[in-house]
Symmetry: C2
Subunit: 322 residues, 2 copies
């Protein structure tokens, strides 16, 4: 436990950790299971540790929270050696250090597959400062950080290395890293919360599916113009080589861990600048309207279904329930 | 999420839960894995849910903390049906309700074995109020709540039902429930914290091993007079039928989830009364002395090893990693 971690009084080694924090606590859990969410290879142990923490922190980012502590539960099959666990802990620990997160507790047990169940705790100044999924208002702009489709394209490149020959080596590597080493948009999430975000979610299931969660929670419709959706460089080339539509990867691929946000139109310009200051972009991709569900349009006309791309699902490991 | 749960603002259904609490947060994680910590049968799905939460809450009890929230991560094999999950959730939810714990978040994923990873969060009035493992002082009394050996005897009774014929049916059932449905000593833990406990730990690994953890953290020796260790009724009869020493079950069986506590001798009488008011007993079993390790004595003479009862270990499912 870093000595300077804000508020943490007792770390690993006792029955529980004790921490003091200002404001309200924000807590999320997430698990990665071998054979379900990853395979080794192509994932290295350090990739597994990184990704397990990153996807958990991404949920805090989507609340606009500042991360503080992580608790790690490892399930370890008998055949996994200590070096593998040390590498996993190193990948996790490096990401934790980069974001000022204290690994405050943990538990290791036997399990039939390698698994890493994370609990992350962060804070917001008061409960009203947490950005929920249910606050999107008709008239709000729909926007997304960064670019989409990279994680799904990276998975394709990892599963079928011959496809990556269509790309520059550096571009192929960047796509693979989008799958192996997602970046939790914590600073962007805080910037968007301060810029007046009315709702926010991280894109884990895919833009269409996650927009659907916001629409359902908000009691409004999210209109998305698909030609405005930022697509990660290299995704089109890789999708072309694989014979899939790059927009399917961007709209339904999932695991990009970018933030989908709604905010009043007059706040957009300031939000773009605030997100730019965190090192990524914010792109307006549509508008909240009265109604329900996700309305995808292309060239002004209603278009494809927002989720349920069976072709893509079949490319991925057996997914999370439900 | 119960509407009246103290301080919880946003429960399941958003990216994270948001909570306000007075004082300092106390957080612990614990996991149960099928084939490692339980088998079904003899565990019912409701037993699994109960025990997963109970063993996690037991860590909060050992800090003297008041429980507030639980976060559940379920790993579910394909062949497990929805009814099983509902029964598990019911067992967990009933125990949560009994202790005023809000199930504030969760996550369900595929896994090769049924597993339940819990995170529990409670509070103490301030960090100094949390009872750690490292505060035992020479001269303190060593004491234990309730009685020991029941969980190990219950496991024997479940594994070898013919042994239970030596007992009254109600006595055999009580032992089985000590294994299947441990009771987290939350009220006793708070009472002991208020009564001036200098160190506390819950007995999960076994009295000898857990006393060793306190001794190591405190830089002192824990002397335990084995004839003073309270043994659960029925354990002697069951151990006799099995041909094992009942004291082995009481000293090394583990999973009793009673509290091992040290406190100044002048506070013992009040502590006994305070624990009695929570519905269980507190028994003095020894004294903290200068030195290191655990010193077991019988009739005034040094006796058996405090841990490493290989005979017992072989009776249990393959254990958790260190």
């Amino acid at each position: 436990v870093p000595a300077d971690s804000a508020g943490l009084v007792i770390g690993s080694g006792d029955d529980a950790a004790v921490s003091l924090r200002e404001g309200a606590a924000v807590t999320s859990v997430d698990a990665l299971v071998e054979g379900v969410h990853f395979r080794m290879p192509p994932f290295s142990p350090a990739d597994v540790g990184h990704k397990a923490l990153a996807v958990a922190l991404s949920d805090l980012a989507a609340m606009g929270a500042s991360p503080e502590e992580a608790y790690v539960q490892l399930g370890v099959p008998e055949e996994v050696d200590d070096d593998t666990l040390l590498e996993l802990a190193d990948g996790l620990g490096r990401l934790a250090a980069e974001h000022g997160v204290a690994v405050a507790g943990g538990d290791v047990t036997r399990a039939p597959a390698l698994l890493c169940a994370m609990t992350v705790v962060g804070s917001v100044s008061d409960p009203a400062a947490a950005v929920r999924r249910g606050g999107a208002q008709p008239g709000d702009v729909v926007a997304v950080t960064g670019a989409l489709g990279g994680a799904a394209a990276g998975l394709l490149a990892l599963d079928r290395p011959e496809l990556a020959a269509a790309l520059e080596p550096a571009a192929a590597e960047r796509l693979r890293l989008r799958q192996l080493r997602p970046f939790p948009r914590l600073a962007a999430g805080r910037a968007l919360a301060e810029a007046g975000a009315t709702s926010m979610i991280d894109i884990s299931d895919g833009l269409g599916a996650d927009a659907g969660h916001v629409a359902a929670a908000s009691g409004a419709a999210l209109g998305i113009e698909v030609e405005r959706v930022p697509v990660e460089p290299g995704v089109s080339e890789l999708a072309g080589a694989a014979g899939v539509d790059p927009l399917d990867l961007a709209l339904a691929g999932g695991e990009d861990y970018e933030l989908l946000v709604t905010l009043p139109e007059q706040g957009l310009e300031a939000a773009v600048a605030a997100v730019a200051a965190t090192g990524t972009s914010l792109s307006a991709i549509g508008e909240v309207t009265p109604g329900e569900g996700v309305l995808l349009s292309e060239g002004g006309a209603a278009t494809r279904q927002p989720s349920g791309f069976d072709q893509l699902r079949s490319l991925r490991a057996p997914g999370a329930l439900p």
